[in-house]
Symmetry: C2
């Protein structure tokens, strides 16, 4: 029988998560009952929103419980089956999370076709991060050709895709990231028109004004905090802000203060800011995945993965992603 | 020949405006040239947005210049005319501002029909404040029957109308104001379902939670600052915020700080905040004025005016309006 490990919270992280906030636990060996099948996990994803679920406070999703396997997106392959719809070898996507195996009756997973794209893309560009970029930009910002789209956290799993979709739609794409290497990646691989390293730039607002001389029409915000203050100061009249994430605030131990003038900018520029959680667009995902898949085939969209091996290294992968040390979508290869 | 006085800025106010920031100046006596006519001002309006124009910094409208007559909404009557379209006695509305007379060729004024409503309403419920309430609520918030509409600065010229329109649309209307008397006015005259005095209430957020148990679906914000933080903490999922004004911030001498969690609420609740300036709806004003006029006739809409007499008292009227001492729309009766 295969060993069935999982990663659970050992404690609710305070401030930046650390290794000791997590522990490996052993689950009973997976067994397929009637109509069930066993999935061997191939890849796991670690994403910023998971930090919110670790605090023990109800946000838009329920908090993770201490001692229970951490849930999250995963892809795997059926290794044992009593369900004719999911034969041995079938690739599937689900939310079973940080564990070696999962037993399903088919209702909590979706089938994947490895001939269309590598199955790991179901956790990235053709999965939740890709859908977040697609709907957050197209449905919330509604960019028009010729407009300037600014992306904070632009080299992250979502941001790198937002800029590429902006270019497909005929916009100018500008972004910020945390290393010179990431800035190179944005400019040379993702087609961004301009980008800068916010860790070596003192005056964000002046830099954004320089790179977006006509102002920012669409702001895709992954970051919040001081970067957002600086972008708001550069919003064009009737700008649209798609608020996707606030990674600058996720690991703070105390509530942060910022200038109230940022809110006032919405009035002065007649701008709109809207927060979204990508699950609200779920009914439209299949059509969007099809369109994104087509762009991938045509070479209009590119992606990069940063893969750490071993289930036991999932907390490390999660922490390095929060620190922005990953280059491309952070995944864990489990088997 | 009539005396033609005007009020001008003597200095750009720093912090709260004071009498000495204004001065009376004498203009040349008004004379109607070919195709022109002279208007005798009847009523002037003082509105919160004017504070922004006094700082000497370009915002969404140009700043007022020291020593020049202060512009703003006014209604009056033609007293002398070389223009057959605007005969003696014709009532008109324009932006000529704080002065006894105005000379026009007809292009910068609109005709008013005193048989439809008292001409002072063109500065209030059937004018800019009424249009601000109408479009800010209906076009920005898009309230649905049964939803909860929260209004800050609810007893102001705009806020008192917002609650009444919310009731016409089948919503629950809740608001805050700065005296017990204003709260009474909201509850007894404007049809608000609930209201509270924010000057005697310590915990805004808890009070709003009590009065809006299902959360706030639509927030019409005239105030900003701590009130807005408290309302955001009570936003319902998919809430819409119409940002109309930020009167709590207009007279600050130093930039104010606030919790960044207010912005984060937009994400968690998938809410939308949009700033607007009512002039953008100008093409739709005539239809809206017609609908509001009908509601007035049917007794569905009520209004109150607070009238100070004498052009020289316009700065006093402006300052008391900023302090919230007015009861109903603050106007100045000039003649």
């Amino acid at each position: 029988m295969p060993t069935n490990r999982a990663i659970a919270l050992a404690a609710h992280p305070v401030g930046f998560p650390k290794d000791s906030d997590f522990k490996v636990i052993n689950l009973s060996d997976p067994k397929a009952g009637p109509n069930q099948f066993v999935i061997r996990t191939k890849f796991l994803t670690v994403d910023p929103y998971m930090r919110g679920r670790m605090t023990g406070v109800k946000s838009y999703v329920d908090p993770f419980e201490i001692g229970k396997p951490i849930a999250g997106g995963a892809v795997g392959e059926v290794t044992e089956s009593n369900n004719p719809d999911f034969p041995k070898g079938q690739a599937v996507l689900g939310m079973w999370g940080w564990q070696d195996h999962h037993v399903s009756d088919g209702r909590d997973v979706q089938k994947l076709d490895p001939r269309l794209a590598p199955i790991s893309t179901a956790l990235g560009i053709l999965g939740m991060p890709g859908m977040t970029a697609y709907f957050g930009l197209l449905d919330i910002c509604k960019p028009k050709a010729g407009e300037t789209v600014y992306v904070s956290g632009a080299a992250g799993a979502v941001g790198a895709i937002v800029g590429q979709i902006a270019k497909i739609k005929g916009c100018r794409a500008v972004g910020s990231a945390g290393t010179d290497e990431k800035v190179d990646y944005l400019l040379k691989e993702c087609g961004y028109d301009a980008a800068f390293n916010y860790k070596t730039e003192k005056n964000f607002a002046a830099k954004i004004r320089e790179l977006c001389p006509k102002g920012v029409d669409c702001y895709f915000d992954n970051v919040g905090g001081e970067m957002t203050d600086a972008v708001f100061a550069n919003l064009a009249p009737f700008a649209r802000v798609s608020l996707c994430g606030i990674i600058s605030q996720y690991n703070l131990e105390k509530p942060d203060l910022g200038p109230r003038s940022t809110y006032a900018t919405l009035l002065i520029r007649q701008a709109r800011a809207e927060g979204f959680i990508v699950s609200r667009f779920m009914p439209q995902w299949p059509a969007a995945i099809k369109e994104m898949g087509q762009w991938l085939k045509e070479g209009k969209l590119k992606y990069r993965e940063d893969i750490l091996e071993g289930l036991e290294n999932t907390p490390k992968a999660f922490i390095r992603m929060l620190k922005g040390e990953n280059k491309g979508k952070q995944l864990v290869k489990v088997s």
